[in-house]
Amino acid sequence: MERVLAYRRLIIIGIFLAVGLIFIVRLFYVQILVDKYILSANNNVLRYITQYPARGLIYDRNGKLLVYNEAAYDLMVIPRQAKNVDTMELCRLLGIDRNEYIRRLVKARNYSAYRQSIFESQITRENYGFLEEKLFRFPGFFVQSRTLRKYTYPIAAHTFGYIGEAGPEIIESNPYYKSGDYIGVNGIEKSYEDILRGEKGMKIRVVDVLNRDKGSFQDCKYDTLAYAGTDLYSSLDEDLQEYGEKLMANKKGSIVAIEPTTGEILCLVTSPTYDPNILVGNIRKKNYKALVFDTVYQPLFNRALMAMYPPGSTFKLVDALVGQQEGVLFPTTTYGCPGGFSIGNGKIVRCHPHPSPLNLIGAIQISCNSYFCRVFRSIIDNRIYTSTRQAYEKWRKEVMSFGLGKKLGLDVPGELNGNIPTPAYYDKYHGRDRWHSMTIISLGIGQGEIGITPLQMANLAVTISNRGWYYVPHIIRAIGKKDSLNPGFREKKVTDVNTAYFDIVVEGMADVVTSGTARASKIDSIDFCGKTGTAQNPQGKNHSIFIAFAPKLNSKIAIAVVVENAGFGAEWAAPVASLMIEKYLRRTVRRKDLEERIMNADLIHGINVKNESRKGDFLPD
C-alpha cells in the first residue's frame, strides 16, 4: 500500500517546480521586461542637484563693468528634519512672526516632509551673513546659493533687459531649461542668452529613505561641472549713456548714438526709464507690476527701438540724395519759395519766412518745405518711368536702402520695422493707381504715413557721414575676448545712392549748424553736421527731432535725438544732440548753462521750461 503511493513524489516535485517556474517567469517580467522599476529606483535614491553657473559679465567700451553677479541665497528646509529649531531666533533673523513660520513650514510639509522646499528665497549677502553664523541652531534648514544680476550703474535698463524664471512654454520647447532655471527675458540678456548663461552642471547625490545624504553617486562618475557664461564687451559708452539719461530726465523720447565707421552703438537712451536693479531678486515681481501698470509714462516701452515717428524735415536729406541719384536734382537746382507750396484745391504746404530762391545747400540749411516738395514731385513725376507707381516703387527701394522702413537687425530684441508705405497702401486708400505725386506730397517733407524709429534715424546719420554705407548697428562689439569683433555685424550695407552725391548734402548739414536752423547748438571748434526735424503730431505738441554726426570728416559719432511733444527740432533735440557730441568728443561739457537748462527741464509736467528768452534762436524747419 505504502509503496504504491511512491508515484506521488512526482506530483509533489511537480508542485515544487511549478511554483519555481512561476517565480522565474515573474522575475523575468519584473527584472528584464519592464523598465519602470529601475526608473523608480533611481527616483528613490538619486537626487540631481543642479549646479548653476555664473552668468557672463557685461563691460562697456572702455572696460567699465556694467553687469555682474552677486551671490544670493535660498534658505531651504526639509520639514522632517526641522526639529528643535530655535524658532524665535530664526523668525527674528528673517523678520517674520511665528504664525508665518508655521504657515511656511506647513506649506513645505504639504509638498513633502522628506524633500527640500524653499523657505525664504534670494536672501542678500549681507542678511545671509547673520544667518550663516546661527544656521546650526536651525536643524533641517540649509542654504542653497544662487546668483543675482547686479548693475554697477542704474542705466540702460531696456538694453540690458532682465532675467526671470523660465516659464512652462520654454521648458517644454527647450530641453536645456528646467523648472527654477533663469533665462534672459529681454534685452541683451535675451538676445545673448546662449552665450551669457554658460553651461549648467549636475551633481548626483545618493540619499536614503529619510532623504539623508549618503554621498556621491558612483564616485561622481556622472557628475558634470558648471561652466560660467561668456563675458560680453558692449559698445556702450557708460559716461555717454548716463549723461544722455540725465539730459532726457523728465522728458519722453530717446537718444541713439552710433560710431559710424563700425556700427557700434554708443548709447541707447529711452526715457522715461528705470533703474535695472529694481527688477532683480525677490523685489522684481512687485516692481515689475508697478512698471507695467504705469500707463502714463510707459517706462517699459523702449522708444529707441519701438517708437515710430514721422521724421519731419530730417527726411529732406533723403530727398536730396534720392533726387540726385534719380537725376532730377543738382546742387545748382534752384527753386523759389512763396511761403508755401500749393498742392491744389486751395491746400498749401506752408513754409516759414526765409530768403528765396534757394539752391540745394541753402534749402537744407534753411529747411525749405517748398523746395523739397518740388524735389519730391520731380522724383515721382519723372518722365523716364511709365507710371507714378513705377517711380514711387523706385523711390521706395532707394529710401529703404538707407535701412528705413524695415528692421535693421540690431542685437537687442524688440526693434520695429518703421513704415515706408507700399503702393498697395495708397491703392487701398485712394483706389488703384488713383494717386499721384500731389496726393502723397507730405512724404517729401517727412510727414504723413511715414514712420521711422530713432534707431533708424541714427543709422541715417551714420550712412550720410559714411557717404553711403553702414554696418548694422549693434550693442555687443566683442564676445569673450575684448578685442574680437562680433562676427554677426561685419557686412557693409551700401545704399542705392552713389557716394558722389553725399558731399553736397553734408555741406548743407554743416551749414544747418553753423548758420542754419540749428545754429544755437553749435559747439566751438567742433564742426558737426546736423539736420533739424519737427514731426507733426495729432495728439499734441510737435515732436522735436535732430540727427547729426561729428566731426564732419572721419566722424566719430552719429546721433539721433527725439524729444516728444516738445516743439521745434532746434528747441530741444538739437541742443541735446549737441551736448551729447561735446560730451563724447571732449569727455567734458563746457556749456554748463545749456546743460543745466536741458537737464532741469521737465517737459512732462511743463516745469523749468526756460527757452522763451532765446526764442529768436530757434528757427522752425
Partner: protein
C-alpha cells in the same frame, strides 16, 4: 547490513552542501541589506550580520550534535517534543514579549526566541511518528482526524499569538497527508480555493455563484449521472458557494483593516503607494532595478538605504534581486528547489515510514516558506510575514530549520538501520 563506516561517511553531502551554500548566501545578504560604511566589519557583533554569524556558528554546533546523538532519540521523543513546544506556545502568550503586533517571542538576554519556529519542526516529527506507526491508516477516519488535530493544534495556538503567517505555514502538512494516502482531491481543492477566493473578491458573488452552478450542471451531465455523482457534484457546489460567501464575509467583516488592505493591494484595488501598497511596491522596485546581473554585492541602494521595509527579515529576497539580478535570483531559487527535491527523493528511499514521512514534512515546510516569502516579495501573494529559510535574519528560524533538516539528514544516513 554492515555498519562499518562512520556516520559522516554515510551522510548525504549534497543536502549538507546545499544547506551550507544557502546559509552562507543568506549571511552575505544580511550583511548587504544592513551594510553601512561606519560598520564595515562583517563580524561586528553590534550589527545584525555579526549576530547572524553567531547564530550560524550555534546552528553548526546543533547540526553536529544531532548527527552524533542516539539515532532513535527523535522518533522516541517526537511526542514529547511536540508536547513541550505546545506548552511553550501557550506560555508565550502570557510570558512573551510583543513585537510588531504578535506576542510570540521569549526574551532571553539580548535575543528573542520564537517557539513557533520550533513548533513547526516538532509538528513534523509528531505527524511522522503518528502516521509512521504500522497500524495507522489514513483511510481510517479516526486516524485522519487525529493527524489533522496534530497539525491544527499548534496552528491554533499560534493564531492566538496573532501570528497569522506562522499559522498558515501548517497548511503545508497536507502534502505529508497526501503522501500518506490522502485523496488527491484535497490538493485539487487547495489549488481551487485560492483561485475561487480571488474570484470571490473581484467578481460579484451572486454572478460567481451562478457561474459555479452552471459549471456543476455541465460536469454532472458529463458523468454517468448516477445518484452518487449528483450528490458529489451538489456537495462540491454547495461547498464552493459557501466558500465564496465566507471568503467575502471574512475579508470584509473579520479580517483586521491592515490585512484587508494587503489583500486589496494584491488584487490591484489599492494603489496607494505611500500607504498599504508601499512595501510591495518598494520590494518590486528593488528587485526590478537589479535587471539581469544585479548592481553587485553591497551596491544595492533600495535595500541598503531602507526603502524596502523589513529588508533583513521578511523582504530579504529583495537584496538578492537587487544586487544579484535575475541570474542571482535564479540561482537562489534553483538551490531551494534542489534542496527540496533532494529531500523528497531521499525520503522515498527510507525504509522506515517515520523517516519517509518526516522527510516529506521537512520538504513541505521548506516549500511553504519558500513560496510565501518569495511570492510576497514578488507581489504575487499578500504580505505575510514569514521568514525565508537560512536567508532571513534571526536565530530561532535558522536553528529551527537547521534542526529540522539535520534530523532528516541523520535519519537518511542511518536509513539501513532504522526500519
Amino acid at each position: 547490513m554492515k555498519v562499518e563506516k562512520g556516520i559522516f561517511y554515510r551522510i548525504d553531502w549534497v543536502m549538507v552542501i546545499l544547506y551550507l551554500a544557502l546559509v552562507l548566501m543568506g549571511w552575505l545578504n544580511i550583511y548587504a541589506a544592513v551594510y553601512n560604511d561606519s560598520h564595515q566589519q562583517i563580524t561586528d557583533m553590534h550589527q545584525k550580520y555579526g549576530k547572524q554569524m553567531i547564530f550560524i556558528l550555534a546552528a553548526m554546533i546543533l547540526a553536529v550534535t544531532i548527527i552524533i546523538i542516539e539515532p532513535k532519540f527523535f522518533s522516541q521523543f517526537a511526542y514529547f517534543l511536540y508536547g513541550f513546544f505546545l506548552v511553550m506556545l501557550i506560555v508565550v502568550i502570557f510570558a512573551g514579549r510583543e513585537i510588531s503586533g504578535s506576542k510570540s517571542w521569549f526574551a532571553i538576554g539580548g535575543f528573542g526566541i520564537q517557539p513557533a519556529e520550533f513548533a513547526k519542526m516538532a509538528t513534523a516529527l509528531a505527524l511522522a511518528k503518528f502516521l509512521g506507526s504500522l497500524d495507522r491508516n489514513i483511510k481510517n477516519p479516526r486516524h485522519l482526524i487525529m493527524a489533522v488535530v496534530i497539525i491544527i493544534l499548534p496552528a491554533l495556538f499560534i493564531l492566538l499569538e496573532h501570528d497569522t503567517g506562522s499559522a498558515l505555514v501548517f497548511l503545508c502538512f497536507v502534502l505529508v497527508l497526501y503522501r500518506a494516502g490522502l485523496t488527491g482531491y484535497v490538493l485539487l481543492a487547495l489549488v481551487a480555493m485560492p483561485v475561487l477566493g480571488v474570484l470571490a473578491l473581484i467578481i460579484n458573488k451572486f454572478i460567481l455563484t451562478a457561474a459555479l452552478f452552471v459549471l456543476s450542471v455541465l460536469i454532472y451531465i458529463r458523468t454517468r449521472r448516477r445518484f452518487r455523482h449528483l450528490l458529489i457534484v451538489l456537495a462540491v457546489f454547495l461547498a464552493s458557494t459557501g466558500f465564496v460567501f465566507s471568503v467575502h464575509y471574512t475579508v470584509y467583516h473579520i479580517l483586521e483593516p491592515h490585512q484587508r488592505q494587503r489583500i486589496n493591494v494584491l488584487l490591484g484595488n489599492n494603489t496607494d503607494l505611500k500607504g498599504a501598497g508601499y512595501n510591495v511596491n518598494q520590494s518590486l522596485i528593488a528587485i526590478g532595478s537589479g535587471r539581469l546581473l544585479g548592481k553587485g554585492f553591497l551596491q544595492g541602494t533600495q535595500t541598503k538605504y531602507n526603502f524596502v521595509p523589513e529588508q533583513s527579515t521578511d523582504f530579504i529576497f529583495c537584496t538578492v534581486g537587487e544586487e544579484h539580478g535575475f541570474i542571482g535570483s535564479l540561482i537562489v531559487i534553483a538551490l531551494f528547489l534542489g534542496l527540496m527535491i533532494r529531500i523528497v527523493i531521499n525520503a522515498e528511499r527510507q525504509r522506515s515510514k517515520f523517516s519517509r514521512l518526516y522527510g516529506y514534512g521537512v520538504a513541505s515546510l521548506f516549500f511553504i516558506h519558500f513560496s510565501i516569502n518569495i511570492g510576497m516579495a514578488l507581489g504575487l501573494l499578500p504580505v505575510i510575514g514569514i521568514p525565508l529559510p537560512f536567508f532571513s535574519y534571526g536565530g530561532s528560524s535558522l536553528w529551527a530549520f537547521t534542526i529540522l533538516l539535520f534530523i532528516f539528514i541523520k535519519q537518511d544516513a542511518l536509513r539501513y538501520e532504522l526500519v
